[in-house]
Amino acid sequence: MTKQIRQLDRVVIRFAGDSGDGMQLTGDRFTSETAQLGNDISTLPNFPAEIRAPAGTLPGVSSFQVHFADYDILTPGDAPNVLVAMNPAALKANLADLPRGADIIVNTDEFTKRSLAKVGYQTSPLDDGSLAGYVVHPVALTSMTVGALATHEVSKKDAERSKNMFALGLLSWMYSRPYESTLRFLERKFAARPELVAANVAAFRAGWNFGETTEDFAVRYEVKPAKMQPGTYRNITGNAALSLGLVAAGVRSGLPVFLGAYPITPASDILHELSKHKRFGVLTMQAEDEIAAVGAALGASYGGSLGVTTTSGPGVALKSETISLAVALELPLVIVDVQRAGPSTGMPTKTEQADLNMALYGRHGEAPVAVIAPRSPSDCFFAALEAARIALTYRTPVILLSDNYVANGSEPWLLPDVESLPDLRVEFASEPNGEDGTTFLPYLRDPETLARPWAIPGTAGLEHRIGGLEKADKTGDISYDPANHDFMVRTRAARIETIPVPDIEVEDPDGDARVLVLGWGSTYGPIGAACRGIRQRGLSIAQAHLRHLAPMPANLGEVLRSYDRVVIPEMNLGQLAHVIRARYLVDAISYNQVRGLPFTSTELETTLEEVLKNV
């Protein structure tokens, strides 16, 4: 049967199922196939903190959304065009996000009386007409998978578990995806169990063939490759990109990277990734707690490594005292905070930007540090390099504020040329710097960077003692002198404030915008998409995005003051807006959401439109 092929410019698919159904893997594979085809992509995984929440319940639903298009896109998409629901819970949990007319592929085998009752369905939505506004495709996913594997030497349980590959096969057929990478992936994943490779491949093919033969799917779709800059690409998550950025920082500085970390969601993947790169001299230590993790990193920095610690908000709170010590010691240290919804344990697998205040101010005493935030998954690579550059050049702790949205989301990444990456080489102190030619002054600063010499143990003639007690300027001796303390506090502040950072750039293609949207971190995509939407309707709006939150770009005040209104959308209750108002006396409009999910561009667009109307 020859099927009709319809061209689309963009599609949003959401795979949803029980947390044991393998939806993250399914989404990941679909994304990889889509990347191979050359579409632009953005993804959004959404899963519960529980590893296996009770099967079939609403809290146990795990989903993966992928947005792909034949043009460059900025977000994982507001609303899915297609929902794959592996059970009633997945349908119920996601239905509200679907626009009328969307396709729903359901695994009918799971729509039993018991499963329906578990999530409060009195009647089956497949039969009671409640899905009349959608295009429902009932597919007996489980039983067809088991049937397809009847001749395979796998248990019934393993056969049933392959149903996600059946679903992937079906969707790959529907959207004409190249599947060779998935077959290769399955061979790698189950290398130790060839019977599972065969079963999963067979399930995938069964799904593909089902699409081809069944009459329920009359149309097949194509999304042409996007026009992207020439070069080699890979799809990458923020956590993976950040890890590679840290490896790159080690290579470009010539220093060993030391990672001290304690497992915490959603940062643990960075520890996992970096532990694989020992051949680069990357040393990872899973510490006994968050405090030890940062302490060990600081100890390694003292010894001449690039000390790094990775964590989430609760971990940064615990590390706070050690970060202050690093401020006093003036040693390089990179602290990665992959933000999640707080306070306390909050919602560990959901996103938020509410650690900005903690990053800027969350220490005792006057303890300024540099703070930077990546804007997208692939940008995490460059943000990590930039954090390392500042830490090494200015001998200071740097907090890198990622969040769950960029950490677990993915997008295509144009691989950079290694030689084009910044040169991060540093010089350790090697000889006395006192005027007499014999004494070493550990707090004598470079007049340009205000950095003190980095004299690592093992260097003869530079033996010295440092510590948390206030130090005298130049000599580093213990000092309680009032004037010295005042001087040192101001110097530590100036050290951060005078770090040169690039000017903020404004995107205002029409050149006549009166409203500026200012964002930071992971809101870049949704804000950008909203601004595009507004411009497509003939209105003007300007967008600027902060990468450096401390110090801030020198031209920021001027930029802010050149617009009639400044809107600051944040996934917190207005933390950046507060800083902007205090520093620049700009009456910024703070727009906030703290739902554990990224902004949708549609809602931002509506908000910005309101502002535009009132200018």
Binding site: A35, T232, F258, H277, K278, R279, A292
Partner: protein, 344 residues
Amino acid sequence: MSEPVALKLTAKDFKSDQEVRWCPGCGDYAILAAIQQFMPELNIPRERTVFVSGIGCSSRFPYYMNTYGMHSIHGRAPAIATGLSVSRPDLSVWVVTGDGDALSIGGNHLIHALRRNVNLKILLFNNRIYGLTKGQYSPTSEVGKITKSTPAGSADAPFNPLSLALGAEASFVGRTIDSDRKHLQSVLRAAAEHQGSAFVEIYQNCNIFNDGAFDQLKDPGTRDDYLIRLEHGQPITFGTDGRFCVVHPPGGFGLEVRETSSVRPEEIVVHDATVADPAYAFALSRLPGLDLRNTPIGVFRSVDRPSYDSVVQSQLAAAKAKVTETPEQQLAGLLGSGDTWTII
């Protein structure tokens, strides 16, 4: 590394130019002098020696040593020193801590450094009181201790630092006393030679807030009957003319002190610091009573166990041994690994 050259260092080389600011009469002075005198013996260049401390009176120690040093934050010295030691196996890293620093606020880091067997020499100055904060009871103070924070007497039982270290699988555990320079140096010598964590408790007198805490162990009239001087390979006897001894009573779990005249010579335990089972050293650590009678000093335990540093470094070396490319080439390969696609 080639044959070490004799550095001909002296105690003076290890004295920094900083004025020592402990209270006059503090036991820390004696420990500092003993260590400064002892360090040249190790023949390790000053620049390769690092003292890391936490917070408290004892933690001022690094300022007075003319080596590299870091006076860090309360309780965290073992964690910071771990990062330094594991990333710089060429250094000799010493941790100086106190009973509050190591056993209260920093208890977690101490036990984990010991279980990992990080190549650190950890010196715990135990004065059984908080000195720098002016006299509150510490986690080694005896029950009922009356202090500023416990006017009715402390309600909580103390830690036995050696029992704790042994419970954490420490590979080297010793105890010595501030006022006995010769003994102190002998224990430090053994600690310095040990590969892995060496934990040394040093009884130290705080003459301001807990004066005389260890007097029975120092007073010539009592010390011989109170102190058990452990010597590897020697039967454990002590007291005037060796009138007491340590035996392993049949059917019992631990060790007990007996009159030597009441037991057969073969019943007397011969000290062996290399016993693999920490239960033996643990039993030794349980001998002292509340009145400090039967306090063993010396090396309780010294066993071979791979240090964390050596395991980590050998993993790094094994991974690096396979590398044939430059770091830049390796990086380009890593960035381009996995599923990639090219747009022309």
